[in-house]
Amino acid sequence: MDDLLKLLKGNARLTNQELAVMLGITAEEVAAKIEDYENKGIIKGYSAICDDTIIDPQKVTALIELKITPQHQSGFDMIANQISSYEQVESVMLMSGAYDILLTVRGHSILEVSQFVSQRLAGIRDVTSTTTHFMLKNYKENGIIICSEEKDERGLVSP
């Protein structure tokens, strides 16, 4: 991967000036490259990775497997797009293997997520089965350790 993208994926809040120094190019060149990535749809957005258990300890996350009857012509796309449009849904992936679509849903309670599954998902025609897994603990997300501080094992000063 391009070093600029790698740096941004690690920390999207680095300034163009800082990025420029690290890459050995000018801040203007950084700005132009980022704009180009945005225009091409390579960079889709910038978001904060949060520990939701601190913000809202009641919040629940579920991974839901769906089996789907593929539709004539559109295959899985139409249903996947429909599911993607629900605001509770955080990610939607078409999978190989025992089921077809895997989605991540976040809600304020188990009840809320359960209702979403039974009323919204199970109600979609062509969804033949759902399996819901509630997340117990999140250890790492987007390459960032969530549940504990990464500890530097090294001494303060060494040769």
Partner: protein, 390 residues
């Protein structure tokens, strides 16, 4: 009651503890210190290497190896040395696997130096050369490298210190603490001085994999120098394997034959688990080095730029993972600067004089840390400098 003053060797009693150690003890006492003081990578050893170690342990491969090291590792090192030095060393007779680069340095100096022999040591440099020379009864002769030469060693500086007692020239490049490198033309000039003499070269190339913009050049690759060079290298820095304690040396057969005796009596053989892991490192993990070196390079630029903006001028180091900014503009000595910085802003950097008297007026800053860590530390150093001015 036993008199310890009398039982302990005078040479050892008079040996000064490392200045790095002294500063470590100060920093350790203060809570919440963030450090830019370490001389080791922040990456973990690549997983493949660790996996090999685990699986050889599971298979019970836990016995001594040959004194010189596992032959498959020496063969791997032999191939690796072609990349590092352009020279082919015979795995059976010209390579010894050692307990870190440190043991290789110790072996070479102790096997070569006799009482009264002089050893030329370019400073600032890693802390171990002079004490080991003294232990052997030799005389360390420091050569002051200069910031205006980007801390390179020049032929002229060698000429000034060369006597008929000179036994070894230590070449510690890429350099800890300055980050200086030696390029081919610099080495050729030095070679010109040494040709026709009996002076040996101890080329400590432990940071050879970490150079930026220019590839490392080993003095062993310069015409006529292989025969007089002991090349020291290891796995600690390039492969992020400091705790595995594994290095190696390569030299012509008449030299390794003698060094091996010392290694055999002192060490027997290097750690077996580490040796198996190192085979995987060389054979399968060269790409990890490039990824790590690329990361270091970005941090290096950030930190050099950071110090220069703070007004602590810092030449651009082309190797290792240190920058060596000049702190003379603060009016403080290296020790004062470091002690006040760690007390007032809780940032640990190492005084330059820990690496030789001519390091006074500089501090060593390691950038083997995450970008956010480096930014926080730079910001605190900035605040420290502002408060000094008031």
């Amino acid at each position: 009651m036993i008199d310890y003053e009398k039982v302990l060797s005078k040479t050892v009693r008079e040996m000064k503890p490392s200045g790095i150690r002294k500063f470590f003890d100060i920093a350790q006492e203060i809570e919440g210190v963030i450090s830019l003081g370490v001389g080791e990578p922040d990456f973990q050893t690549p997983w493949k290497i660790r996996q090999t170690a685990i699986s050889t342990l599971e298979q019970g491969k836990t016995v001594y190896t040959a004194n010189a090291g596992l032959i498959e590792l020496r063969e791997a090192v032999s191939d690796y040395l072609v990349k590092l030095t352009t020279q082919r060393y015979d795995p059976k007779s010209e390579i010894i696997i050692t307990v870190g680069g440190s043991e290789a340095i110790d072996l070479a100096i102790r096997s070569i130096v006799e009482v009264g022999d002089e050893v030329l040591i370019p400073e600032p440099c890693f802390v171990c050369y002079a004490p080991i020379v003294s232990l052997s009864g030799g005389v360390p002769v420091p050569i002051e490298t200069k910031v205006e030469n980007e801390f390179r060693l020049t032929a002229q500086e060698i000429k000034e210190k060369l006597t008929d007692k000179t036994k070894i020239l230590v070449l510690p490049f890429p350099n800890n603490p300055t980050g200086a490198i030696m390029e081919k033309k610099d080495l050729e000039e030095i070679a010109e001085v040494l040709r026709g003499t009996n002076v040996m070269i101890l080329s400590d190339e432990i940071y050879a994999e970490l150079t930026y913009g220019k590839k490392h050049c080993s003095i062993a690759s310069i015409d006529g120098m292989r025969e007089r060079t002991v090349v020291v290298n290891g796995f600690s820095k390039g492969f992020a394997m400091t705790g595995w304690r594994l290095g190696f040396l390569a030299a012509p057969k008449p030299i390794t034959k003698q060094l091996l005796k010392v290694h055999q009596y002192a060490i027997m053989s290097s750690p077996t688990t580490s040796q198996y892991a190192a085979v995987t490192a060389i054979r399968e993990c060269q790409d990890s080095i490039e990824i790590m070196a690329n990361e270091y390079n970005m941090r290096r630029r950030l930190v050099v730029d950071g110090f220069n903006k703070l007004g602590l001028t810092c030449f651009e180091p082309k190797g290792a993972f240190y920058v060596f900014p000049c702190i003379k503009s603060t009016g403080l000595s290296s020790d004062e600067f470091c002690e006040r910085l760690v007390h007032e802003k809780k940032v640990a950097v190492v005084p330059g004089n820990a690496f030789g008297a001519c390091g006074e007026g500089f501090v060593r800053v390691s950038y083997a840390y995450s970008i956010s860590h480096l930014k926080t530390a730079l910001q605190r150093i900035g605040e420290f400098l502002e408060e000094l001015k008031q």
